[in-house]
Symmetry: D2
Subunit: 377 residues, 4 copies
């Protein structure tokens, strides 16, 4: 068992999911590496200390540059808001660190390209935390598609619906609400939610050629947490686009934070010649499958409860019928990353995969401006 020292930058929501993953992975997966919670870095010394105490980090830093300089750090985990990803990632690459970066990879594709260039030059292992690929039901979908169970694909549709910003009193900027500040987040639901939908789609259904999109900002001004003043909202509250995949299939994508009744309804469906699949984050342990090869009089959508040992990841957990939660997707991602190190193989989503998603989100935002179809290449 070889220890790998983790230095994480950021201690918000994602700081917690990543820390939990590092702590749990070796209890459930047989691996040759063990992540060690070596250091956590954040600007607020008091808060970062409290986080370190809570999770068992051995040390703290308040300057991420110092963290990167430390010789005892093997992995830099970037769990900061989006506007810091590029600078930190490029510096970490230069320092020869392995890098795990939160999604989206960067504020835009140009920035993401710089990051990719940096890690390719440095030849360091890298991964973007698009965790949904490691939900067992989604991994099963990927397996079924790869096995050819669906045949030719006709349609893909995905949406990610939330409702937490309908109240105009929700501020922009600051902890918990930086996602509403365009300077920090880069974009609104496009980079935050559609990016998840796109990463999964590219993984399951291949590349997207072009898109036509619309975006909307329903609440035009919100108070900024830092200035205390009402400021124009620069992000997109809602975004939707039509897409054509390279494999000839048609797609619709939609995301919003104004869909009353949906907390985090990420759902996708894929329709093939022989079979269709659908999934829903609100019941993440289930995969719906329709198989046209079943006899006609007993065909129907099957609700597959993905908790059995012969389904992806599940033999490492409990017994059939007992579901795992959202956070296990991060455990799986760490497990796969560490297995990749063992095997000397790159494991996706790599930064290059993250760049591909950023190219699509760029095209979405551009099309919303031009009113035309835009290429994603």
């Amino acid at each position: 068992m070889k220890n790998l020292n983790v230095g994480i930058v950021g201690y918000g929501f994602m700081g917690r999911t990543h820390s939990n993953a590092y702590r749990q992975v070796n209890n459930f997966f047989p691996l040759k590496h063990r992540p060690v919670l070596k250091a956590v870095c954040g600007r607020d010394a008091e808060k970062v200390k409290a986080f370190a105490d809570n999770w068992g980090y051995e040390s703290v830093e308040t300057d991420w540059r110092k963290l990167i300089e430390r010789k005892d750090i093997d992995i830099i985990d970037i769990a900061t808001p989006n506007n810091l990803h590029a600078e930190i990632a490029i510096a970490a690459a230069k320092a020869g660190k392995m890098i795990l970066c939160e999604k989206p990879l960067a504020l835009n594709a140009a920035e993401a390209q710089q990051i990719v260039d940096a890690v390719e030059k440095a030849k360091v292992p890298n991964m973007v935390w698009y965790n949904y690929r490691r939900i067992p039901a989604i991994a099963l979908a990927k397996q079924l598609i790869d096995e050819g169970k669906l045949g030719k694909i006709f349609h893909y549709r995905a949406k990610f619906l939330q409702d937490w910003t309908i109240n105009a009193d929700v501020p922009q900027g600051g902890a918990g609400t930086w996602r509403l500040d365009v300077n920090v987040a880069g974009s609104g639901v496009t980079g935050d939610l559609l990016a998840h939908c796109i990463d999964t789609a590219l993984w399951l259904n291949g590349s997207i050629d072009k898109v036509t999109a619309m975006t909307e900002t329903f609440v035009k001004e919100r108070k900024h947490t830092e200035t205390g003043k009402m400021q124009k909202v620069g992000i997109d509250d809602a975004a939707a686009f039509l897409a054509r995949f390279s494999n000839g299939s048609l797609a619709t994508f939609e995301s919003t934070r104004y869909a009353r009744g949906h907390k985090a309804l990420y759902t996708f469906e894929i329709n093939g010649e022989h079979a269709s699949l659908s999934w829903d984050l609100h019941d993440l342990h289930r995969l719906q499958m329709f198989d046209h090869r079943d006899p006609g009089y007993v065909r129907g959508w099957r609700s597959i409860h993905v908790t059995d040992g012969d389904q992806p990841y599940m033999k490492h957990w409990w017994v059939p019928g007992l579901q795992i939660g959202y956070e296990e997707s991060f455990v799986h991602q760490v497990a796969d990353f560490l297995k990749g190190l063992e095997d000397g193989k790159s494991v996706g989503p790599t930064f290059k995969d993250g760049l591909a998603t950023d190219k699509v989100t760029d095209a979405v935002l551009k099309s919303a401006q031009t009113g035309r179809w835009e290429s994603c290449q």
Copy 2:
């Protein structure tokens, strides 16, 4: 096309469902007989006239004995409260009429036996309106069981839950509420709702050897519609029983009118060695099926939308995906009865089948008194 003149006794809820069935059956099913709405009989001359006008009955009667005496009547349809079934049915049999009788067949098994004796002696076609056998999804369940898809049966469970009598102001006796008057209904949920569950169960899973039961009357006194006075409630508001089928399977049955939130939730499930099926009246066009022979990693409960032409009865209706309603089960029952006449075959549920159900409900009521297991034979 041969006309068959129908004389119906009763013009309540069931009078409507039967009349609608007679009117629709030849529009949808190719048959050699055509039911003609010849006469409707009820004690209230004004109301029975209005019913006749509404549905197109050619004549009215206010005395069922006169109806039975009429030479121009081929079929007597008994849509009265339970306490009149036996007398009418026996008289109709003696008069050589075909008889379609609402369920339950009689107030108890002894009375039901007399009816059976009468029709067997008279050799007249007969049928009990246990309409749920003709829901396409249930007919499909029967087909799958007969095909051996389930293998050895381990379990059967059924319930029929309603909530319309929780309010203590609901009276007993009279139109719409005669089901709460023990003298008219014979029993409460046992004869009204469990009887449906039992008829389906006997059809799908064979005979029941014995039961142990409990019943309860939550509201002890209700005003009687006829007397205007508070009177002791003699029916069972709720009933549940355990059962052992002759095929070795175990069962639970439950019925109540005190299950808040359920209007008419009749549901059953049957678990076999290889497959299981379940169904629910609130979505009556769906059959749930789990098939263990599916590959392990994609097994799941299939929600079969029973609206396709290769599924029972459905080629006679619309196009795939378009559901039919509750009332079509009565249309199907008439269609099957008329087809039976063509083919010279007796079609269930016959009065003998109705007697079998009454034997089980008698055992349930008896066990609720004795606190012991009681035989259903």
Copy 3:
């Protein structure tokens, strides 16, 4: 009770649903008019005679012009393929007949405008058979929106998914498959399925300003039933569009006949400030509602089983919990039309409403060509 003589043109799928509606409406709804099945018209004398016999039409015609000339016909019901709607409707209007026309109103908006002009000049009652408005669950949705329960609307999404033309052996042209022949149908899923989605949307959420769309024809050639030869397929197999409503809400619409596993999955969802609603044709008796005004810890999507007497249309049917089917939506439409005659009020969807939908479908088809946003006005 006043009789209204119906002369119907066409005896296919829609000929059956309309005939059934005329036959059932007076049994269930108290009305002052009674539709009489006077005549059915079709080119094939033998088939039209068989249809008349089956449904009880008193006479037959093989030339719709003769039907319109008959003095004993009050209502012309157009249940033909789309390419005949305009000619028949305009002639019927000139003859002063009331007109009920199948959807879509015409092959395109220009043709629809001519029909509207004709009925407005003739001042004859008219209606398009967009039957889904009369599904009780959808009528309840309309009621809730009109009551202001949803507040400001942010999003609307609808889709209508089928899978019956995936097989390349399905021909174009002829009975049952004329919907694949562009010369007869005008368009593919856009006029057939999206038109339904659009009519409901305009009714529930007001007018659409503009759209951007894509369409696809997956199977490029199909054998034509009449010529027996392989011919280019001119219809759209799939279509999707983004839309902006006049009330500021954003929408996505999609329709296809290549979504494996969906027979007739028409579904819509509407998200408002205070509440959201969704509905699905595969369980047409249910309306899903999320009400943000419920206390936070017990909020959830309610599955409303629309079978109660205090819900639209349902007091005319059975008892709570017992669902009706697809065909009752046509019964309700006739009932509302007849009630409108009693009250001297125009009842939607009128031909003018049908024109509005055709303007949207025209814009969809145009945008799919231009790749740009197109106005629907």
Copy 4:
């Protein structure tokens, strides 16, 4: 922060869930005590060492008596098969240790009484691992009942269905299959699965007066893992019972390992005068609620996604919409136990609660023999 040293006996399925709970609890819950994984005890020295290494236990023991003798152990956690619970628990009580014991508390009520006597004499904190009380959705159900939202209770129904022993080749005895060996397990589904249903029921709905039951053993002989020989199966494969609660409500309970298609379908429903609740382990993050106080035309079962900060336990986890898994129920149980220590309060389910459940399971097994109603007191 005070450390509490845990010594756990057993390293099977439950050894893993408990260990995970001790490791996670302080990362998510603010508490004054911290469980320390001090020692794990098991008979197989090699396996127990591997378990200790995997989970980070500081030491190992192969004799539970030695573990209890250790001064550095504060808590004895009994995660062994059922036949060892009593002896270990009584010894641990005498040694003054806090005790957390897996369910069921003992092989029968007599044995359970001895355990209760021991802990009451020793005055040591104690708890049974009936973890389902700590599923957030079930805790919310408890809250709603305690708030009086349901009013008078009429019905309770629960079942726990599995299908993993249908194959007659599943052996009895040994790791993973000791639950089929009556000498080790005490009973079959009654003590294993019904015990869970009963514990929840007693917590939510109060005490049970009496029951009438049936049990069945479908596979009469199975190979014993230790002897290698076919031996009579002494456990119950399936069990069902009717019950009457002290509050006047009626109940049905059922459990089996022969319900094809159900891996671990623990479900319950409770019907009250004003509202009903239901829950299902296969979607453990949802609570279904029907509230009759909603306006009639929009009443429906609400699917409450129990992932919000104002719902039990959830503010300690992620963000709304993101579900947690089965194992968190154990984390919650440790958190509540530790909070009880802080507050000096006994937290259920205590051993006394465990005894109450054993009294019901004893009555169930007895009734299955006598065929009569048996008292649970």
